[in-house]
C-alpha cells in the first residue's frame, strides 16, 4: 500500500504544479485578449476596470473550471489502464 500512497502524493504534487502553471498561463492569455479587445473596440473609458471585470467573469466561467481536468484526466487514464490490463 506504500506504493499507492507514494503514487498519490507524488502525483498530486506534480499535477498541482501543472495546475497552477496552467491557471496562471491561461489567465495571462485571457488578460492579453481583453486588453486587445479594449484597444480595438474601446467599450469603456477605463481600460483597467474593463480588463478586471473581464477577468472576474472568466474566474466564474466553465472554461476556467475545465483546467481541473488536469487532475481528472490522469485518474481516468489510470482507471482505464487498470481495467484493460487486469479485467479485460
Amino acid at each position: 500500500m506504500f506504493a499507492l500512497a507514494r503514487l498519490i502524493v507524488v502525483g498530486f504534487v506534480v499535477l498541482s504544479i501543472v495546475y497552477v502553471a496552467l491557471s496562471l498561463y491561461s489567465r495571462s492569455v485571457r488578460r492579453g485578449k481583453l486588453t486587445r479587445e479594449w484597444e480595438e473596440e474601446r467599450p469603456t473609458d477605463d481600460r483597467d476596470s474593463f480588463v478586471e471585470q473581464g477577468l472576474e467573469d472568466y474566474d466564474g466561467s466553465l472554461r476556467r473550471k475545465l483546467i481541473l481536468g488536469v487532475y481528472i484526466a490522469p485518474v481516468c487514464l489510470i482507471t482505464l489502464i487498470v481495467y484493460l490490463n487486469n479485467f479485460h
Binding site: M1, A3, L4, R6, L7, I78, I81, V82, N85, N86, F87
Partner: protein, 216 residues
C-alpha cells in the same frame, strides 16, 4: 572537447533508446511449455530490473518469482517473469499475476499439439544478469504466423516524446541565440581587446629595449 561532447550525446541518446526499449510493450508469438515458481534473491545487482512484491504484500529481501517457460515459433525458448507492477513504475498497473499464471497453465501445450499465444511484455531477457521480461497479458491466436497488430500505443508515446523533445530543443536554441550568444561574443571581444593591449604593451617594451641596442 568536441569528442567529449559527442560521447556525452551518444551515451545520452543510447540511454533514452534503451529506456524506451525496456519500458514500452512488445509482443511475441509463443507456445507456453510450462509455468514455475523459483525462489529469487533481490539483494544483487539485478534488483533494479525487478518489480516489487505483490501489491498486497510487504517487501522482503527474497521471495518467490513466477516464471512462464515458452518456446517461440523459431524453436528458441524464452522465459518470462510474471510480476505485479502494482502502483509503481513502469505504469502498467498490473495486479493480476496469479490470474495470468493460472490462465497460462491452462494453455500449456506440447510440440506435437501446439497452442499459440501472443504475449505482451516489457523488459529484457539477459542470462548474465538473470533478468526476464515481465509478461503483461496474453491472448490465444491461430498459429505462429498470427499478426501482432500495429503498435498504436508505442507510436503515440514515441510521437509525444518527439514533439516534447523538439519543442524543448527549439526553445533552448532560441534562448541561446538571444541570451547566451551575445554574452559569449562580448566576452570574446573582451579577450581580443586584452590580447591586443598585451601585444601593444610588449611592442612598447621591445622598442624601449631597442634603444639600448647598438644602432646599426
Amino acid at each position: 572537447m568536441v569528442y567529449f561532447k559527442w560521447i556525452f550525446w551518444i551515451v545520452f541518446w543510447t540511454l533514452i533508446v534503451a529506456f524506451f526499449h525496456y519500458t514500452l510493450p512488445q509482443k511475441d508469438v509463443v507456445r507456453v511449455t510450462g509455468t514455475e515458481i523459483i525462489r529469487k534473491d533481490f539483494s544483487g545487482l539485478s534488483r533494479f530490473f525487478y518489480a516489487q512484491a505483490d501489491s498486497g504484500d510487504n517487501e522482503v529481501i527474497n521471495r518467490d518469482l513466477r516464471l512462464l517457460n515458452t518456446t517461440r515459433a523459431n524453436g528458441r525458448v524464452m522465459v518470462y517473469r510474471n510480476e505485479d507492477t502494482g502502483w509503481s513504475w513502469p505504469p502498467y498497473f498490473k495486479f493480476d499475476s496469479s490470474n495470468i499464471q493460472a490462465e497460462a497453465s491452462e494453455h500449456i501445450s506440447t510440440r506435437e499439439n501446439p497452442r499459440w499465444v501472443i504475449i505482451r511484455h516489457y523488459g529484457w531477457r539477459n542470462p548474465f544478469l538473470s533478468i526476464y521480461p515481465n509478461a503483461i497479458d496474453f491472448r490465444v491466436v491461430d498459429g505462429p504466423e498470427a499478426g501482432k497488430g500495429i503498435p498504436w500505443l508505442n507510436i503515440l508515446i514515441l510521437s509525444a516524446f518527439s514533439v516534447v523533445t523538439l519543442t524543448i530543443w527549439r526553445l533552448w536554441r532560441r534562448f541561446r541565440s538571444s541570451r547566451i550568444d551575445p554574452i559569449v561574443e562580448n566576452v570574446q571581444d573582451g579577450f581580443d581587446a586584452a590580447g591586443d593591449a598585451v601585444a601593444d604593451r610588449r611592442s612598447r617594451v621591445k622598442r624601449w629595449l631597442d634603444t639600448w641596442r647598438a644602432k646599426k
